[in-house]
């Protein structure tokens, strides 16, 4: 009875795995094969050829590319991304200490942004063409295009420099009370929310408008249902799929946004770890971070797809 939906879900899972495989090959090709010599990098200009050759052997750089990729992939699957070049700690350990921080940041941002964005999107769709809709349209349109660091610097200027309400940098070690937690997370979350809310609201509006044009909505209006009831009872259940998609897409934008936000507020998350790794050209660490980002992205998209499948009764009945 459920076989059709199950088959679809299995297909989506397979597709996600295939994508992950291609991504891993791409990332490995970019970071492991092309950029010359990690051994030379690590030892610097003054190293003798013999030293370089020895280190190359130690890193396994003298083996053929395909073999190195296969080895790297096997290790990566078991969670072992090798050792960080700059501080000799296992990459997985470094990631494990930073990942929870980033997840907390992302989670808080989601909690704040999704309800606000849905409200804005649905409201402007209900009152389409009105002044409110047009104002919201221009507002969200502009916010999407504003760089995160402008929002962040303005926030710092207002709340940390002028008003002195919030600290300009995030030191997680200071967290002792709920209030302290709020003070630290307020600005990073606010900055991330701005861009994401705008994007999500626009996509939600489009999804709801799409349904409002359908004939069953006209029918509902003709039989005398109130606008509120039309939207909540008739339209919303039909837009769960597209809205889940919009939410997932916007949240995936988080992964880009955190890179900037974590650096500005000196927040000890995964993205700032990756920026440091890039600055130090610490390839194993970069590879590990990218793969975590990609897995997170694919998981988001997969969840959105599943929502779409599960929320579609036509797929359930067959």
């Amino acid at each position: 009875m459920k076989s059709h939906a199950q088959r679809l879900i299995a297909a989506r899972l397979g597709l996600a795995l295939l994508t992950l495989l291609i991504v891993s090959a791409l990332v490995f090709a970019l970071t492991g094969l092309l950029p010359g010599d990690a051994a030379q990098q690590a030892l610097g200009q003054a190293a003798t050829p013999a030293q370089v050759a020895a280190l190359r052997h130690q890193f396994g750089l003298d083996q053929p590319a395909v073999q190195r990729y296969a080895q790297w992939l096997l290790h990566a699957v078991s969670g072992n991304f090798g050792t960080s070049l700059s501080n000799n700690l296992p990459v997985s350990e470094l990631i494990a200490t930073r990942l929870p921080n980033s997840l907390v940041l992302a989670g808080l941002t989601t909690l704040v942004s999704v309800p606000i964005a849905l409200m804005i999107g649905i409201t402007s769709a209900m009152f389409r063409g009105s002044l409110l809709d047009r104002v919201l349209n221009v507002l969200t349109l502009s916010t999407v295009a504003v760089p995160e660091f402008l929002i962040a610097t303005i926030a710092v200027l207002i709340f940390a420099v002028k008003l002195r309400w919030l600290p300009a940098l995030s030191y997680l070690s200071d967290v002792s009370s709920f209030e302290a937690l709020l003070r630290i997370y307020a600005m990073p979350v606010m900055t991330l929310c701005c861009v994401i809310i705008a994007q999500m609201a626009r996509m939600t509006r489009a999804a709801v408008l799409d349904q409002l044009n359908a004939s069953y909505v006209e029918m509902a209006i003709l039989k005398g249902a109130s606008p509120m009831r039309v939207v909540l009872r008739h339209v919303l259940p039909n837009t769960i799929g597209p809205i889940a998609n919009a939410v997932a897409l916007s949240l995936s934008y988080l992964f880009g946004g955190v890179v900037i936000v974590e650096s500005i507020f000196n927040y000890p998350g995964l993205a700032s770890l990756m920026v440091d790794a890039v600055t130090n050209r610490d390839m194993p660490l970069v590879q590990g971070c990218v793969m975590v980002f990609c897995v997170a992205y694919l998981a988001l998209v997969l969840v959105a797809d599943l929502c779409q499948i599960v929320s579609n009764p036509r797929l359930r009945q067959r």
Binding site: V138, A145, L157, V259, S263, C294, V301
Partner: protein, 318 residues
């Protein structure tokens, strides 16, 4: 205020025309040609009528920044790298309209010189991304299922690496230089252009006139070039504008992290980074470059929104 005076006096304008061989100048000053003037005025009026107030604002902003990108260094009051004031993080003054930066350089000149990098680099990358994406999109649409499937999977994989993260990986691998930045910005946004052009082309391929062309025995190249491409150029142009906005944000984000345009050159993102130390002082040096980015991207967005709205109304779709 430093913009070159445009034909204020008839005499100077005439001289300017003969000396600089510039084709501009009031057409009424050259030989009568009443029809041309009438036609010009008609075009201008139609142009104005086609734009809403906000769309016009967007157009003005975009044209302004494009002009600055070409003329900026010529009209800048000081040389880009020259230290002209003993005061660092100075505020607005007659000698330095936008204040001074962390070394006492004139910020207006820095911004004017930086425009070339921000606008030029993003424009080049956006052209590359759109052209390559459209090419592969067309290829996927007109060729068989196998090619389509392979290309789609590949580009889906690239899209699942967040663009900022992808850019970080490439910069980690190859270092940061102008060609690398251009390449990575283009590469990161090819998949988006591919997706859109592919879906447009696939829809066009089902239309009767394409099937007629096929029945006539036209080659794939002919169908792609003559039947499909001209009909998708308008949506692709709007998409090109969006891609430009994303690329501006990506590149200035990279520069903000210190991984984009390298000193002594500076785009707007680097300017924000250089002067971030002045944030606590509330110096205009931090805000102005960030605001410049925001005006550019918001301007482009307003322009596109206006164009899309018109196009949508033309086709009768919302």
């Amino acid at each position: 205020m430093n913009r070159p005076a445009t034909h204020s006096h008839a005499a100077t304008a005439l001289y300017a025309v003969s000396e600089n061989e510039s084709p501009q100048g009031d057409p009424s000053l050259q030989e009568p040609l009443p029809e041309v003037t009438a036609k010009r005025r008609g075009v201008l009026q139609r142009l104005v009528r086609r734009f809403s107030v906000l769309g016009l604002l967007g157009l003005v902003i975009v044209v302004f920044w494009l002009a600055v990108a070409f003329l900026g260094p010529l009209v800048a009051p000081y040389k880009g790298g020259a230290i002209t004031s003993t005061e660092i993080f100075g505020s607005y003054s007659a000698a330095h309209p936008l204040g001074t930066d962390y070394l006492g350089r004139d910020l207006l000149s820095r911004v004017l010189f930086g425009t070339r990098y921000t606008v030029g680099l993003a424009l080049a990358s956006a052209v590359l991304a759109s052209c390559i994406g459209t090419f592969f999109g067309l290829l996927a649409a007109v060729s068989g299922r196998a090619v389509d499937e392979v290309l789609s999977r590949l580009f889906d994989a690239v899209i699942s690496i967040p663009s900022k993260v992808l850019a970080l990986v490439v910069v980690a691998a190859f270092g940061s230089s102008i060609p690398i930045l251009m390449g990575v910005a283009a590469f990161a946004y090819i998949p988006g252009a591919f997706r859109i052009s592919r879906s447009l082309a696939v829809n066009l391929m089902t239309l009767e006139y394409v099937q007629v062309a096929r029945a006539r025995g036209e080659g794939l190249l002919y169908i792609a070039r003559v039947e499909v491409l001209p009909n998708m150029i308008h949506p692709m142009l709007a998409d090109f504008g969006l891609r430009f906005v994303f690329i501006v944000l990506l590149l200035s984000g990279l520069s903000f992290l210190g991984l984009g345009v390298q000193p002594p050159d500076a785009d707007w993102g680097s300017l924000v980074r250089e002067n971030i130390g002045g944030l606590a002082l509330g110096a205009p040096a931090v805000l102005m470059p960030a605001i410049a980015i925001a005006t550019l991207t918001v301007g482009v967005n307003l322009l596109i929104d206006n164009l899309r709205r018109r196009a949508g109304r033309g086709q009768g779709a919302a």
